[in-house]
Structure formats: C-alpha cells, structure tokens
C-alpha cells in the first residue's frame, strides 16, 4: 500500500467483472489484479511504474456472440508431396473450421538448382576432373540440401573439398545459363555470370580466416603492432612517392612485405618467425621511409642550406624517439665533446654527424632493452610479477647470478680513441666486491636499479 502511495497509483483495484465476488481486502500486500499472485511475484512483487500488462485486458473473455470450440481435425499441407493426412487441434468458430493452407507451408522454400540434360552435359559441361556421375550426384545433393555445401561435402561419396564442389556447381550452372541464354547480354546481369566463383581466392581466404582464428593473443598483439607500423610506412611512402623519390631503399620494402606476410595468409610457421624480425625491422623501416621522404622534399626545394638539410634529416631520424630520448642524445653528444650543430657543416661532416646521432639512438635503445631484460629476469627468479630488482628479497638470495651493470647515461672521456667510461651505480646487498668505481652523480635523475650481485 505504501508503494502505491509513493507511486501514486490508485489504491483500489480496477473494477473487473470477475472480481464481483466481494473479497475481503485481505492484506495490503495483495497487489496483483487479474494475474495470479505467483506470476506477479516474478516481476519482483511490486507494481511496475508503467504497467506493461494492461490489467483490464487480461481476463477478458471472447466476444460472447461467437461460439468457439476446439476440434481435433485432419489437415494436409501443400508443402508435402504425398497426401499424408495429419491431425491437429483447430479453433472452430461458430462451427466453421478455418480455411486455407497449412499455415506453415509457406516456409517450405527451396533453391532453384538448374538441372542440365545429358545432351547439354556432353556439349558444355565436361571437365577432366569430374565424371558425369559425380556431377550428377553433386547436383542431386545440391537440390536435396539446398546448396548447403558443408552437408553436401559431408555426404559426397568421393572425397572433395567444399571449394571444389562449389567450384564445380557454380561453373556448371554458369555454363548452362550462358548456353541456354538467347544472347549473352541477357544473362550478363545474372549474379552467377557476373561474379564467377574463384576457387583459389576462396581457398586462400578460408585459410587466412582459420589462421586468424587460431592466433594466440600474443600473436594478435604483435600483428596489431606490425599493422600500425605498416600503416605509418605506407603513409610516409605516399609522401615520398608524391615527391617522386626514385630510390626508396630496399629494406623498407622488405620490411613492409614481411609485415604483410606476417598478417596475411601464410604458413603457420613463417608468421611466428617473421614476427620478431618484423617488429624490429618495422621501427627502422619507418625511419628509413622518413629519411627517404625528407630527401625527396629537399630535392624539391632546388636550393637549400646544408644546415637546414641536416636539421631535417636529424628530425626524420629521431621521428620515432620521444622528447626525453632526444634530450639524452644531445646530452651524449655533449659528453662526447661533439657540437650539437656542427661548426663546419660540410657534406662529409653532416653525414658523419647524422650517423653518429643514429648510433647514439641505437645505443640508448639497447640500454633500455638490456634494462628491461634484466628486470624481466629478476622477476622470473623472484617468482612474482612486478617485483623490482633491488628489493630486500633479492639481497638475501643465496644463489644469484653474476650480471654486469649497465649505466643509464654514460660519461665519455674527451680523449679521442681512448675510452674512459665512468659508470654510475647504486647497490644494495651485503658484502659486495666490485671493481668498477662509483662516480660522482651524473646527469641521470631516476633511482638506479640494482644490477650486480655477489659472486
């Protein structure tokens, strides 16, 4: 009752003829009107905001002028080819049974399978790979099973793939259509004629699909990565092509093809092989493509300053690097005693400078790689994820591996040809014996990961 108050619904039930019997308003909980209590309880036992069932309609009786009876009567169906008579309950109104076909007969649809004559077979349809008998069987099955080729392939007496069956069926039908047509133009619009079945394409397509289906999550991620790279390469290639760059380096083509090979149809073996190199090639091919498009745009300029050209090439080479990495490259250059912008930018000097920058980028990437691998390694050994090396657990570990330390930034000595490398490290762990000296605080900002340990 309270709920009805809140909802603003009328407290007394709508008058229903059946409710004429004065029922004592038993309990305020008796909400359902016109439907049984149990059914009402299914809705949660409370009246819906908008009554979905029109309560007044529920116990409506049929119009009293009609006399309805139910009778057990025979019937036939036009869908049947025999004259089988079956029986069912029929709603008879005023003694008149319903007329018309069996109501489900309209659903008996089938496919128009073209049947050829023997003569036509001899003339148009012979094929070295198919006997007439087989073709006949195929067509029978097609008709019987409404072109459900999976089933047909299953029931076909000799072993044939679904694609082969389809190919045969469609090419025969097509040939018949064309042969029977008074003029070619008339059938040109027929789907069978317009778009012939392509066996090889279909086989390939299904193979590709099954490959994609059977990919592991890991592979899926790799593929997504490679696709993104390929897209970038394609875009920069468009730019290069627009600028008429003739000598796009071969590695980028190789990279692109291996990327496509990894994603598209291919042997199950090759994708996994290609994944790893493609993933590593992909970043460098995008850089190469950037370089190529930069060269192309420079060429278009007709005249430019070499310092400008160097700037552009440096930008292209660092296109895949973040701002932080670029800053680190510059820091490294300074540490090496090299001018950030060459003082004498001749062709040779600029080339060397560019190569040096690229090498430094490689160096930084390798450093990062090594750090990750070491972090990985330590997390494996700890047996727990996300366990950073340098926690107390590690220092107490008895059997530990001897690993070399990789500094975050490297200070180089200025003396050419004589490398003086200062290393920086922070260590935890008892009784360390190390030969490498610790250096004064360098340019790095992050806390160091623990790397080496006792022998």
């Amino acid at each position: 009752m309270d709920a009805k108050d809140i909802l603003g619904l009328p407290k007394t039930p709508l008058p229903i003829p059946q409710e004429k019997k004065s029922r004592p308003q038993k309990d305020s909980q008796r909400k359902p009107d016109g439907i049984s209590r149990e059914v009402y309880a299914l809705t949660g036992g409370v009246a819906p905001l908008m009554p979905s069932i029109d309560v007044s309609q529920l116990k409506r009786r049929p119009p009293s002028d009609e006399k309805i009876t139910w009778q057990w009567l025979p019937f036939t169906s036009s869908a049947r080819k025999d004259d089988l008579q079956l029986y069912h309950w029929v709603r008879v109104v005023n003694g008149v049974p319903p007329t018309g076909d069996y109501s489900f007969a309209k659903y008996n649809k089938s496919v128009d399978v073209i049947r050829y004559t023997d003569e036509e077979y001899e003339k148009y349809l012979t094929d070295p790979k198919w006997t007439k008998e087989e073709t006949d069987q195929l067509f029978d099955l097609c008709e019987r099973f409404d072109l459900r080729f999976i089933i047909i392939a299953d029931r076909f007496p000799t072993h044939r793939t679904v694609e082969e069956l389809k190919d045969r069926y469609y090419s025969v039908s097509r040939a018949i259509l064309v042969a029977r047509a008074p003029s070619p133009g008339e059938v040109a619009g027929h789907p069978l004629v317009k778009e012939p079945y392509n066996v090889t394409q279909e086989t390939e397509r299904k193979r590709a699909l099954s490959m994609v289906l059977s990919q592991t999550k890991h592979q899926e991620r790799k593929d997504a990565e490679v696709l993104a790279e390929a897209k970038r390469i394609a875009e920069s290639r468009m730019a290069a092509r627009a600028a008429e760059e003739p000598d796009l380096p071969v590695p980028s083509d190789v990279g692109l093809e291996s990327a496509e090979g990894a994603v598209g149809p291919g042997d199950t073996i090759s994708p996994s092989n290609v994944q790893a190199p493609a993933a590593t090639i992909a970043p460098s091919t995008s850089v190469i493509a950037d370089n190529a498009s930069t060269l192309a745009s420079l060429r278009m300029l007709r005249v430019y300053l070499r310092t400008y050209a160097l700037e552009q090439m440096v930008q292209a080479a660092s296109s895949s690097a973040g701002l932080r990495t670029i800053k680190r490259v510059e820091q490294t250059l300074q540490d090496l005693g090299v001018n950030l912008k060459p003082k004498v930018p001749t062709k040779a000097v600029c080339a060397e400078h560019l190569e040096l920058r690229k090498e430094i980028l490689t160096l930084l990437n390798l450093q990062k790689q090594l750090q990750y691998k070491e972090a990985e390694g330590s997390s494996f050994r700890d047996g727990s994820y996300g366990d950073m090396p340098g926690t107390a657990k590690r220092s107490q570990r008895a059997a530990d591996q001897d690993r070399t330390f990789v500094p975050d930034t490297i200070s180089f000595g200025v003396i050419p040809g004589d490398r003086v490398v200062k290393r920086e490290q922070k260590r935890k762990g008892p009784g360390r014996t190390s030969e490498t000296p610790s250096s004064p605080a360098g340019a790095h900002k992050r806390p160091r990961k623990m790397k080496a340990s006792d022998l």
């Binding site: 060429r299 005249v303 430019y304 300053l305 001018n339 003082k343 180089f412 490398r419």
Partner: protein, 265 residues
C-alpha cells in the same frame, strides 16, 4: 681571381645601370636547348661564410652610433661568389632608413653604424641558370663582446661568422658548364656519360671589379673553418659509441640466455 673565361647569359631583369661597382659586360649567349637541361642525382654546393664584424667607435661613439659594423656573405675560401649570386638583399631593423638594402655585386656586404643588435635577414638571389628561387640566411648582428667585463677596443672588432653550404639540386647543364673550374664552387662528380660543353671565354679581366674577398680590409679578422677537426672529433665519437653498442649487444644476449632458464612455468 675571377675566371674570365666564363661568360654570362644576358640577364633581362638586371637593370642596365652603369654603377661604378657594376662590372661585367654581358654577352648574349646563343640559347641552346641543352641550357635548360637538368642533371639528375647531382648536387653542387657553394661553401659560404656569413656574419658581421663590428668596431667600437670609442671616443667618436655617440648614443645612437656606438659601433660601425659590416654584415657580409663571402665565399668560404674567399673566392668570388658572384659566379652564382646575382644579388644579395640585406633586411635591416625597421629603425634604419631604407631598411631593405640591395647589393648587386660582390663582395656582398653592407656597412652601417648603430647601437643595437638585431636579426638581419639576408636573401641571396642567384643567376637564372643557377636557381630561380632565392635563399634566406639569418644572422644575429653582434656588436658587444661576449665577455662583458672586458675592455672594448676600437682596433679589434667583434666578429661572428657562420659557415654553411648552399646546395643546388639537379643543376642545369649550363650552370655546371659555366662554373666548371671555379674555385668558389664545390664541383660534383658527374654521373657516367654526362659531358659538359666547354666554357665560353669573355671580356678581359681588367674591366671586372674584383669580387673575391682575399684582400678584403676585414680579411685579417675572418675566421678559419676547417672540417678536419670536426671530422676527427666525430670519427672518434662514433668509434666510442660503436664499441659501446657492441658491448651492450653481448650483454643482452647473455641476459637472454640467463632468462631462458628461469622463464615462469
């Protein structure tokens, strides 16, 4: 010295004003079809140095004229740039009278007096057979020495120079032919099968004004730019980096091997 065996095509947009600085008589060269032909995959570069020298005027300095300065563009080895450069336009600060100064001949320089440092935009226009597009250089005029506490001298100028190279891509045959032996230009190696017509000789030397800066009054202050030092530096740096890369690669494969044993089950 200027190679007088070179000739110039008649330049229609060059005004035929006889200024004392205007030097060469233009001979009309028969237009051949080849003159517009561009050589692909070839670039030709002209090393230049541009900058300024500024003298403090000392006693004669006034509030608005404390320095006398010259901004210039010269060949890196002090050769005559007019073989490629038709004119140079120096865009000065708007507080100067006629801030757009055009210099029609080598040496491409401009002298002024003032007190302020500002950016000067230098636009180089090239001869028609060289390049139709002009090139912009930007130089920040420096009057005051780096070391602010040091004494200012009227004898020793403050000099700031920048080295750069002007690169022409796909140069025309006629351009290449014309500058074949000119010392101001770094001539490229021509691809196989490309030959150039021999340069045509012209008027005598004496009529031409010297455009090179070898004996320029400021030449004693010019800086030397040698690529050798920088190349050496770069080579050494690369060596260091390469060695480090090799080392890291070894470490990575080592770690990989170690990690293999401990992969989680």
């Amino acid at each position: 010295m200027v190679d007088t065996s070179l000739s110039k095509k008649k330049d229609p947009d060059q005004p035929e004003i006889s200024l004392p600085t205007l030097k060469s008589q233009r001979t009309k060269m028969g237009k051949s079809e080849d003159s517009e032909k561009k050589i692909k995959d070839v670039e030709i570069s002209v090393p230049i140095v541009y900058g300024n020298a500024a003298f403090w005027l000392g006693k004669k300095a006034s509030e608005y004229q404390s320095h006398k300065w010259t901004v210039y563009v010269r060949g890196a080895t002090n050769e005559d740039l007019s073989v490629v450069v038709k004119r140079a336009v120096f865009q000065l600060h708007s507080s100067f009278n006629n801030p757009t100064r055009v210099v029609e001949s080598a040496p491409f320089e401009l002298s002024e007096s003032g007190w302020g440092e500002f950016e000067i935009a230098i636009t180089l226009f090239f001869h028609n057979d060289v390049c139709e597009k002009p090139l912009n250089l930007y130089h920040h005029l420096k009057l005051y020495p780096e070391d602010e506490s040091g004494p200012m001298s009227t004898k020793k100028p403050v000099v700031v120079e920048s080295y750069d190279e002007v690169v022409f891509t796909e140069p025309s045959e006629s351009f290449l032919a014309r500058v074949q032996n000119h010392p101001a230009v770094t001539f490229p190696r021509l691809p196989a099968g490309v030959t150039l017509p021999p340069p045509v000789s012209t008027e005598d030397e004496s009529k031409k004004k010297r455009g090179d800066t070898k004996d320029h009054p400021l030449s004693q202050w010019f800086l030397n730019f040698s690529e050798a030092d920088e190349l050496l530096q770069l080579a050494a740096a690369r060596q260091q980096v390469q060695a480090h890369i090799a080392k890291l690669r070894r470490q990575i494969s080592l770690t990989d091997g170690q990690n293999q044993q401990f992969k989680p089950l």
